[in-house]
């Protein structure tokens, strides 16, 4: 009568998956229901201070259908990274799986990266005054775990994959459903792609992940 399923958490840290050649995330906007599970996963995984966001879900009013569209935003882990180029301290690095991370020991709090990022992905941690952002949960992926946001997503709208592995089922899925880069014209060669992305959505989330200075409503995007 015992279920044959193994207990997955017992293997964590013992079995490590091969590092990805280029780690990426596919966001299927058709599936997202705006539940903010990814936001809480990120906040609790990394103890992110209030007012700072590594991931954020925006609610967009559709003009036509009288309903809302949900849009999760995270760092795009660009391969042509504006932040990395802008940093005068060489504190922004690329890991072996091509994720872009900030070495806080080197960060000189110049804030050039904050300005350079077209996605608003970088914030200044109020406790340390250093720049910080999504590291695609390097602490988890090193142990063979998925990034925290991907792990919890109830509708599998976030999918973790190796963009340089043509046989990765997520990559095949992304190609089939015409996944697109957000703000393609920024020319940053991101590692995050969206299924079901439409131009009107991009305009609405222009200011990206962090709160804009005048924004008094965190979720809804004003027209």
């Amino acid at each position: 009568m015992i279920s044959v399923t193994s207990i997955p958490w017992e293997n964590i840290g013992k079995v490590r998956s091969e590092p990805k050649k280029r780690a990426g995330i596919i966001v299927d906007l058709r599936l997202c229901v705006g539940c903010h599970s990814c936001s809480l996963a990120c906040k609790t995984e990394h103890n992110i201070p209030l007012r700072c966001f590594r991931t954020r879900v925006r609610y967009l009013e559709r003009g036509d259908k009288l309903t809302l569209k949900f849009f999760p935003l995270i760092c795009m882990h660009c391969q042509d990274s504006p932040c990395l180029k802008a940093c005068p301290c060489n504190a922004i690095l690329r890991l072996e799986d091509k994720t872009v991370i900030i070495d806080k020991n080197r960060c000189g709090s110049e804030k050039a990266c904050v300005k350079a990022c077209p996605y608003g992905a970088i914030y200044i941690d109020p406790a340390t005054d250093k720049a910080d952002k999504c590291d695609l949960c390097a602490n988890r992926t090193a142990l063979g775990m998925e990034p925290a946001c991907v792990n919890v997503c109830p509708v599998n709208a976030l999918k973790y994959c190796d963009l340089e592995d043509p046989d990765d089922p997520v990559v095949i899925y992304a190609r089939k459903h015409d996944a697109k880069a957000f703000k393609e014209e920024a020319g940053t060669n991101p590692s995050v792609f969206y299924i079901g992305l439409e131009k009107w959505m991009e305009k609405k989330v222009e200011n990206g992940i962090q709160l804009s200075s005048k924004e008094d409503e965190i979720i809804y995007v004003q027209k």
């Binding site: 279920s3 903010h36 103890n47 209030l50 109830p154």
Partner: protein, 896 residues
């Protein structure tokens, strides 16, 4: 640019991780050495980063809402650092929502209550003193003992907001002898449970649609993408069916909810007209001969032709006039729904049910499934076992999972001649004396079983929580001691001000004990506060209906020890019982709680150790719960049974009582449904019977034995400039219990009035304008019906939103706390700093976010913490069943 490895990075990042500032333990109440030590450890460790190679995974069951998903807690250095999903849970399938993950902030809230407290000022004044458990329980036990000596145990009232102990608190109230174990079922779901129990029987007060395999979902105002008991299980399967398999979902709603937003079509409908739409669809399906005649004749308890005659006037054109949904759309949807059968299902919850006419509306919606014959079939409207297992209907072959004995006997009903009965108001006595004997045996006084709402306790005691305070005020019941258990009535009940008024009146409530986790509005009005362990710190047995249609059970187990002196409710009640004594202690004869639960699960086919390691058990070889009603009656039940020739029902004598065990269909004994007729009771005499006993006028069609539709009395002749004021729930919040959790409050901390842009134009309103909203008293057969004086007025800003029904304004109800510490109040001035030593918040450790970074608070230049609106929602129980009519309220608005 250099490429570094992930392991190197972790080393770098780990080196600069930010801990909490350490500091001396300075609070005047934290005197004991061990508390101080724990406090300092917390200061050092909370907020440090998790290292999964050093953390331990403890599976448990979430209590972030009433859905109860399997979770695992990652524990390091004695602190829960992360919550994830338990992939072995067949219901939640390894996923968790925002609320589940926020339980960490719930446990490690710096202003949580972790010591027993006694008030030292006036009740409600907010001055407190820490006392020992012994002192607290001695005082409570002394008063409770006296009530037993005086033979008035019913004057002890136990009122809970959330109790998932699966009968443990009932063990306590039964052992003490009080029937007054009250809840908030009417606030939540009784209007939608009653139609289900009427149709399918007591076992199936909650349905389990087979969303994984469905092709067409017809949604009448339910919102599982944001809030719904089981919504989290439904959400994943609905999205999977829609996106991966092309299933379609149609939603009728009053606002663009997340569910409406992901639907293939969303129709804004006038509130409380879902029943008209459903009845029109029934007509369309019958007219087009798309119903399942074979299923209807076999399983419905009423002839289809007679049904057709009685509902013929509810045409699509009529429904269009009522609801605003075009008749041709209603026709097309009805046809598409019926053609998809059995791979189709309806879905409804509070949106359709929490109205004056909501019970009848839900009966009409439920009838759609019976009509097309999708009940219990793959992809259809299924029913699966909900309760703990003890050989109930649909639980054959499952181990007995029952609370260990010895169990106290049930409390005796209030029968004529007893002192309890004679104390009732005369008109109540008269009403009860006329009740049929079956009801007289279920009558326990006006708080537990209000005689005006017999269908709130006909199937089982659902209670009418919102009437408890008015009834105490009116003197319908005498209370000596009132115990609130994680109850948010003073904040979240309709006209919460009535609850506060009663709780502040020491004549009405001479003694008030609150068992709570945080300093809630309810706890602030107590005489003694007993701190409870959170769901990360306690045991509970768990079972609920599984949307994978596999009965399963899970165990909530402590991931860590309770903070400070907080205790799980099982220990609190055990210790209290032992102090009360008089035999009561014999029902609580266990040393530790684990031992008790181990006994509870003794029939489980896996070892206790294995169960704790997995957190979940189910039988993977058991067939899914499809078509339970067609399963043959077991040989055990057939032995000694007899068949009633008139109705084909198979009866058996059990403990001297005649019990139905099945029904003969085509000469074969099958289980049928656990209803009196063993069929689906689309026709139910209990509605007119109840209406007769409470004197409901014939014109009020809540007493109709067949489903029907009628206009909500308050909505007849609604004026052009009047709107309907509705409330809704956000996906990151659970009722009034999460407004103080920092990460969730950061996402939703305000509750603007959502309004359609066209309507706004009519009133000359633009975004962020301030309005005054006046809520009028409801009409019909309800509390304070038709009074001219409005329920109240409040001010709030408006937010224009396309997709809102033009006659509706919607405001969420989670925020606007005045207690629950600095995050709850969105207040940067910590209470304990200003009045140190008087309030119960022991700043148990530092959290740099609190209060300095609550950026939405007014003092930080933000919009503030929203408006408390629950004072302005009238107490409005639906006739007979008593469910609160949350969404009927007529209001006027005025620009300020």
């Amino acid at each position: 640019m250099s490429n570094i490895t992930r392991r190197e990075f972790i080393r770098i990042a780990g080196g600069i991780s930010v801990g909490m500032a350490s500091g001396a333990c300075s609070h005047p109440f934290v005197k004991e050495k061990h508390s101080c030590k724990q406090s300092q450890n917390l200061k050092r460790l909370i907020g440090t980063k998790i290292d999964y190679t050093k953390a331990r995974a403890v599976p448990s069951i979430c209590f972030g809402c009433t859905t109860h998903c399997g979770v695992i807690g990652w524990v390091q250095d004695g602190i829960v650092k992360k919550i994830e999903g338990n992939p072995l849970d067949p219901n939640s399938r390894g996923k968790v929502c925002a609320k589940a993950q926020g339980m960490i902030s719930y446990t490690y809230y710096p202003e949580r209550i972790i010591y027993p407290m006694r008030r030292i000022g006036k009740r409600g004044e907010g001055k407190w003193k820490r006392i020992s458990w012994n002192e607290a329980l001695d005082e409570i036990a002394k008063k409770m003992k006296k009530l037993r000596q005086e033979e008035h145990p019913e004057r002890f009232v136990f009122h809970y907001g959330r109790d998932k102990t699966k009968g443990f608190t009932k063990r306590f109230t039964n052992a003490f002898g009080t029937p007054n174990r009250l809840n908030r079922r009417s606030i939540c779901s009784s209007n939608r449970r009653a139609p289900l129990m009427s149709f399918y029987g007591r076992e199936f007060e909650w349905e389990t649609q087979d969303f994984e395999n469905t092709k067409f979902i017809l949604n009448f105002g339910a919102n599982p993408m944001e809030a719904y008991q089981g919504g989290f299980f439904m959400m994943q399967r609905i999205q999977q069916a829609r996106v991966d398999k092309g299933a379609k979902m149609i939603t009728f709603e009053v606002r663009p909810s997340a569910t409406a937003s992901v639907s293939d079509k969303y129709f804004p409908v006038f509130p409380g007209t879902d029943g008209a739409i459903a009845l029109a669809m029934i007509n369309v399906i019958i007219d087009n001969n798309l119903h399942d005649k074979k299923f209807w004749d076999r399983w419905a308890n009423y002839p289809l032709n007679d049904l057709k005659k009685q509902i013929a006037s509810f045409t699509p054109e009529f429904a269009e006039k009522e609801s605003g949904v075009p008749a041709e759309e209603i026709i097309d949807i009805a046809i598409e729904f019926a053609k998809a059968s059995p791979e189709c299902c309806t879905m409804s919850n509070r949106g359709s049910a929490k109205h004056y006419n909501g019970v009848q509306a839900d009966r009409a919606i439920r009838l759609l499934d019976v009509l097309v014959g999708n009940v219990g079939r793959p992809g259809g409207f299924c029913l699966s076992t909900l309760r703990m297992w003890k050989k109930r209907y649909g639980q054959d072959g499952l181990p007995n999972i029952v609370q260990p004995g010895p169990s106290p006997s049930s409390v005796k009903p209030f029968q004529p001649g007893t002192e309890q009965f004679n104390e009732l108001p005369v008109e109540v006595q008269e009403r009860v004396k006329n009740f049929p004997p079956e009801w007289q045996n279920k009558y326990f006084g006006e708080l537990a079983t209000p005689s005006e709402y017999p269908l709130s306790w006909h199937w089982y005691p659902m209670r009418v929580g919102q009437l408890v305070y008015p009834y105490i005020k009116e003197g319908r019941a005498k209370v000596e001691m009132y115990m609130s258990y994680t109850l948010g009535a003073s904040y979240g009940y309709p006209e919460a001000k009535v609850a506060r008024e009663v709780l502040l009146d020491e004549k009405l409530i001479p003694f008030h004990v609150a068992i709570d986790i945080g300093y809630s509005e309810q706890a602030s009005l107590a005489d003694i506060i007993l701190p409870e362990a959170t769901s990360l710190e306690r045991w509970d047995a768990h079972s609920t209906n599984c949307y994978g249609l596999v009965p399963y059970t899970g165990i909530r187990q402590p991931m860590v020890k309770p903070l400070g002196e907080a205790k799980p409710v099982q220990i609190i009640l055990r210790d209290l019982a032992s102090k009360i004594g008089g035999g009561m202690e014999s029902f609580f004869n266990f040393n530790d709680v684990e031992e008790f639960y181990r006994e509870w699960y003794k029939e489980l086919p896996i070892s206790w150790k294995e169960f704790k390691k997995r957190g979940i058990w189910y039988d993977p070889n058991r067939p899914k719960d499809y078509e339970l009603y067609e399963r043959p009656v077991s040989n055990d039940d057939l032995k000694g049974s007899f068949v009633n020739k008139e109705n084909n029902i198979i009866y058996k004598m059990k403990k001297g009582k005649k019990v139905a065990v099945g029904i003969m269909q085509d000469g074969k004994p099958v289980c049928g449904f656990p209803t009196p007729s063993r069929k689906i009771q689309v026709y139910d005499e209990v509605f007119p019977l109840a209406a007769k006993h409470v004197g409901l006028p014939k014109s009020d069609e809540n007493g109709s034995p067949l489903c029907t539709y009628f206009k909500i009395p308050s909505h007849v002749n609604i004026q052009h400039d009047e709107l309907i004021f509705t409330t809704f729930k956000w996906n990151v919040h659970t009722q009034g219990r999460t407004g103080h959790l920092k990460y969730q409050a950061e996402i939703v901390h305000a509750n603007p009035v959502f309004i359609n842009p066209e309507t706004a134009k009519r009133f000359g309103l633009k975004n962020s304008d301030m309005i005054e909203l006046t809520v009028h008293r409801p009409k019909g057969h309800t509390y304070r019906a038709g009074e001219k004086e409005p329920v109240g007025k409040f001010r709030n800003t408006v937010r224009l939103l396309n997709g809102m029904h033009p006659k509706v304004v919607a405001v969420s109800h989670h925020v606007g706390h005045w207690e629950h510490g600095s995050v709850g109040r969105s207040n940067v001035n910590l209470s304990h700093e200003s009045k140190s030593g008087t309030e119960p918040h022991l700043k148990i450790f530092d959290d740099k976010d609190i209060p300095e970074r609550i950026w939405w608070s007014k003092s930080q230049g933000g919009p503030g913490g929203g408006v408390h609106i629950n004072d302005f929602l009238p107490i409005d129980p639906a006739p007979l069943v008593g469910g609160q009519n949350w969404f009927d309220n007529v209001c006027s608005i005025e620009k300020i």
